[in-house]
Subunit: 245 residues, 2 copies
């Protein structure tokens, strides 16, 4: 009997060339398919909720695959974790409806971007955050972030050359958390364009550094022009926290 | 003019064979001496507050060295950090009294040991904590830890073969902090024997798992016998937080 299995996965993206299988470099998808195929004793393809770029991390990536084996569902977690490299961990395994599709059924996602604002970067955060030696004004970032919330055409916050049907997305919430000098910016939205979070962070950092006024975010949105927004923030600060179904 | 320079240093010990210079493998001391010598333009030896073993981390290791150059004291921090590998960071540089000695003047140290008690280990803590899949009773660990505080002969909590004048040390405080399922155990003492924190943690884990009653800690202390205590917990969970002067 065919079972549709949903996996919730965490990974440290530092040593991977992103989620999606490619010719050069190891990927999360490749490691997962190798491990699942070994347990299933036949080649298995997985469906991911979304790609993450090289160096991007995940706390709650979701994939699904069809199992043709008779392995009890609760055995997948320990079996896969015993095979997978230590920087990829299966957090949860569930049997789901036959027509559940990790990508098409996703209602939204939560991403987190981490900034290390200490004068000297923390060695323990160096792979999971981006250090900014510039003093940043968190209040201004919050003001700018509020203007990014809502339903907008996010063309200015999408990597050029992206082919999508529409640049309109809804960002339900952008939330800042600060603990000691680690600032985390959470983005909750119904979908994200290519590099969207990293360009929003790059732009908000310009706001935090005082190079752009918070209100300018409005003009940048209206311009629909990638060149008006700030630089794309580095991949290693980004983490896919949750996929919402 | 000779200046005595005190450095406060943080490092991720994952990729090092410990603090002290040795024939095989790179060490923190070697990297520091290489970097300082390059800036001083002459060979420099440093004095460390204490060694840390291979894989042990530091948030606040302290070393001192004598500078014969004319480099302004405040220039050492950016200059050294621009040369050092990213997993070693100078946090503070001060000119101190000529007779300040990082090891002899140390009044005490604070160590932290981190346990990851999630059912599946966090990929982000995997290099800085030790995972325990066993359910642990934090209350029992606290009870056991309280019995380790005070002035005691810690012979049972010292790696065998250690040659020291006395096994008597004072532990001023053992404190537990729990956030989500990460448990941090802080040890503040006037000095620590070889592997002492790791053996105390290994023993407290036995208490937390219910294999030893908290009160047994008293008997273990009195036995002065290494074999009565628990195993030596792995190096990667240990971090030298602070050297007290």
């Amino acid at each position: 009997m065919k079972r549709n299995i949903k996996l919730t996965i965490s990974y440290d993206g530092t040593n991977y060339s992103g989620f999606q299988i490619q010719d050069n470099g190891s990927t999360i998808q490749e490691e997962l398919e190798k491990a699942i195929s070994r347990i299933e004793k036949s080649p298995v393809k997985i469906i991911g909720a979304g790609r993450t770029d090289a160096g991007v991390h995940a706390l709650g990536q979701v994939v699904n695959f069809y199992s043709l084996s008779s392995i009890p569902t609760e055995r997948f977690l320990p079996a896969l974790n015993s095979i997978l490299p230590h920087d990829i961990r299966i957090l949860q395994v569930e049997e789901v409806d036959e027509d559940f599709h990790a990508r098409f059924n996703a209602q939204g996602k939560i991403y987190c971007y981490t900034l290390d604002c200490r004068s000297v970067p923390s060695v323990f955060w160096r792979l999971y955050s981006v250090h900014t030696s510039h003093t940043i004004n968190v209040m201004k970032i919050k003001q700018g972030a509020a203007l990014l919330e809502g339903k907008h055409h996010y063309g200015a916050f999408c990597a050029t050359g992206s082919t999508v049907k529409t640049f309109v997305r809804i960002i339900q919430e952008i939330k800042l958390e600060q603990s000691e000098q680690i600032v985390k910016i959470y983005f909750k939205g119904n979908g994200f364009l290519y590099n969207m979070v990293r360009i929003m962070v790059g732009t908000l950092l310009e706001v935090g550094k005082g190079r752009i006024e918070p209100e300018t975010i409005k003009d940048i949105l209206e311009s629909k022009d990638r060149k008006q927004a700030g630089p794309t923030a580095p991949a290693k600060g980004l983490c896919l926290v949750k996929v919402i179904y």
